[in-house]
């Protein structure tokens, strides 16, 4: 009884988001009687390990690969190699560039995720949005694409003119106090927030790349007693993140659904192995949109959202 083998390749295996993704894939694979092998880079941006992982999956005789690419265009030749070898390759969370380099993509629209929190923040401030002082807490100096998409989405949603939409930090709007990098963790979030507060202590809107960075930023604000008069927005919607929305740490977060991405992906590989059929994208889009929802307990007009109770039910589902 040759079990169907599927591979899951994530950016890292230390970010809770990918841990969830792996959980979802493992559960689904077990349910369908498949074997799942998971791989990950050592750090975010560790592209070479992902290439090696694809090769390993080919050598292993896997039927398909689920991939969240660290470098969306560099990975394409390796993906092509896998497809040539008869594997189905499905991009999760992060679309490849070009998007059709993968057989299918199950992802959140990261720009949209950013846009939602931007719109929410602007609407929450109302008139005051014109005088906002915004801190942008980004991922890392290498400006990875997810980070850029969320950052630029947020600014667009907030109503700020973008410079080059492929990079952050080139906007001229005086409402932006500054950009700093967080490495996507609490430590970096706190330090970056402190740096920007030293630059301008009157910051009242904080965009964060993800919820750990948001938690760190909150600690920095708390230490100067401003935790209650600053809006923090973030992306991910992980269970701890939604809890933080409930606790008032984060004002709103855009929730994505990694577990869903993973289980849909595993199913698709099974289908490919059994019937030779590839999945179809969401009508009208180039990818299968697993959806994004704004989670907040302070809904605003004009921006659709769910509350934290629902968010908790769905968190990373």
């Amino acid at each position: 009884d040759e079990k169907v083998t599927a591979c899951l390749i994530t950016k890292t295996d230390t970010n809770p988001f990918f841990v969830k993704m792996k959980e979802g894939a493992t559960a689904k694979a077990e349910e369908l009687g498949m074997e799942l092998k998971s791989f990950a880079g050592k750090i975010d941006g560790d592209h070479e390990t992902q290439v090696a992982a694809i090769e390993t999956c080919i050598a292993d005789g896997a039927k398909g690969i689920l991939l969240t690419a660290s470098d969306t265009s560099s990975i394409v030749p390796a993906v092509q190699q896998a497809r040539d070898a008869g594997l189905v390759v499905i991009a999760l969370d992060t679309p490849l560039s070009p998007i059709d380099a993968a057989d299918a993509t199950f992802a959140t629209d990261n720009f949209l995720a950013g846009e939602l929190i931007g719109q929410w923040a602007a609407a929450s401030l109302g008139e005051e949005a014109a005088n906002a002082k915004i801190a942008m807490l980004d991922l890392g100096v290498s400006q990875p694409t997810v980070g850029v998409l969320r950052d630029q989405g947020f600014l667009q949603g907030f109503g700020i003119d973008l410079g080059d939409p492929n990079k952050w930090g080139d906007e001229t709007d005086p409402r932006i106090v500054g950009n700093d990098v967080t490495a996507g963790n609490e430590e970096g979030g706190r330090k970056a927030m402190e740096n920007l507060l030293a630059k301008d202590p009157m910051i009242n809107v904080v965009y964060t790349i993800n919820e750990p960075a948001a938690a760190g930023a909150y600690e920095a604000l708390k230490s100067i007693g401003r935790e209650n008069d600053v809006l923090i927005v973030s992306v991910d919607g992980g269970c701890p993140g939604v809890q933080n929305v409930k606790d008032g740490v984060i004002g709103a977060t855009s929730q994505q659904y990694p577990l869903m991405m993973a289980s849909l992906g595993v199913e698709a590989i099974k289908k490919w192995a059994d019937e030779g059929v590839k999945p179809e994208p969401t009508p009208g889009k180039a990818f299968f949109d697993t959806g994004v929802a704004l989670v907040t307990d302070k809904p605003v007009k004009g921006v659709e959202s769910i509350d934290t109770t629902e968010g908790t039910n769905l968190c990373w589902g």
Partner: protein, 353 residues
């Protein structure tokens, strides 16, 4: 017994003075160089004061305020503590690449023991400290007893401890709010108090106390002298009666323990317990040590220097950010700073006293 050979008797009547040479006129530069030579932590102190003054002039009260100054202290708090551990190891002519990993694993143990196994927070902290001590012991044992190079031992342990950290924690973060509610003791080092505009945390106080205690111990106790002796020339220390194995193991254990304290302080600083923290602690702590003037060859330098070194990096980072330089330029300048610091150090070392 025969008598001395005749020609040797001619020595009698030779002057008893040690040879003294004509020094020639000494320039101010030479005298200054000499002063720096005898007090190694003076260089980083001067650089620190100068950089504070320069950024103060450029940025005014935004930078030169009790708030900003104490903010720098808070920002270098964790690195400062870890750099103390690193200093000890480097003084013995070693290097510890596992400091960051030990710090994180210890903080994760504190959190998980408290929340997963439900032990009282104080006990959780105790287990975390024990974990750091144990990691340090393994490092020390491999270095002292197996005689393996510290670079390799701690390179291996780095990977082992970090992987254990991820495996054990299952990458789960314990949230700040939860800790505050159920185990505030874990966040002890994050508590703050104000003195005018200055904001201090217990973590900062701990770092300063640690620096002072280590400076005292290294200078004024036999163990401290032995640490220097081992770093200076291990074999010589051994032959002249120092139990070098014991000294080395105790240094690595103390280093592990200090890293565990850094892990505790980390919980205070970021509020939560997060297994992905501390990835840059190695490089940052070595940078502080090097800028602080401790020789990588061991046996020379002081922990005060390390403290100043950590502050210099903190001042540059905040100062440059306030001036509007972006993160990449800051990294570039810190790179230049590292090389420049050691070049200056080398120049000072040239003096023979």
């Amino acid at each position: 017994m025969s008598t001395p050979q005749s020609y040797e008797a001619a020595v009698a009547g030779s002057p008893d003075k040690v040879a003294e040479f004509d020094h020639g006129p000494q320039s101010f530069i030479q005298k200054f160089q000499h002063a720096l030579h005898v007090t190694p932590s003076l260089v980083p102190l001067i650089v620190l004061v100068m950089s504070i003054v320069i950024f103060g002039l450029l940025l005014g009260s935004k930078f030169f305020s009790p708030f900003a100054m104490t903010l720098i202290l808070q920002q270098v708090g964790i690195v400062g503590i870890v750099a103390c551990a690193q200093s000890l190891v480097i003084l013995t002519a070693g290097i510890d690449l596992s400091v960051g990993a030990i710090m994180v694993l210890s903080s994760v143990v504190m959190g998980q023991f408290t929340f997963r196994y439900g032990v009282p927070p104080v006990m959780g902290v105790a287990f975390g400290l024990l974990c750091g001590l144990l990691c340090g012991y393994i490092n020390g044992w491999l270095v002292a007893k197996m005689k393996l190079p510290p670079f390799i031992v701690t390179l291996g342990m780095w990977q082992i401890v970090l992987a254990s950290n991820f495996l054990y924690s299952a990458n789960e973060t314990i949230r700040s709010q939860e800790i505050a509610e159920k185990a505030a003791f874990l966040q002890f080092f994050g508590e703050k108090f104000k003195v005018g505009g200055a904001v201090f945390t217990y973590g900062v106080i701990f770092m300063i106390a640690l620096v002072l205690i280590l400076a005292y111990v290294l200078r004024h106790t036999a163990w401290g002298r032995h640490v220097y002796a081992v770093g200076d020339d291990k074999e010589a220390a051994e032959l002249s009666g120092v139990n070098t194995d014991k000294v080395l193991i105790s240094v690595y254990m103390l280093s592990g323990l200090i890293c565990a304290f850094a892990g505790w302080a980390l919980i205070g600083r970021i509020g939560s317990v997060s297994p992905t923290s501390g990835q840059l602690a190695n490089i940052e702590s070595i940078t502080a040590v090097v800028i602080g003037g401790i020789s990588l060859f061991g046996g020379r330098g002081s922990v005060l220097g390390t403290f100043f070194g950590a502050l210099i990096v903190g001042v540059f980072t905040l100062g440059l950010r306030l001036l509007g330089a972006d993160a990449q330029w800051t990294y570039l300048l810190i790179g230049v700073l590292i090389i420049a610091a050691v070049a200056v150090d080398q120049w000072i070392r040239k003096v023979s006293v």
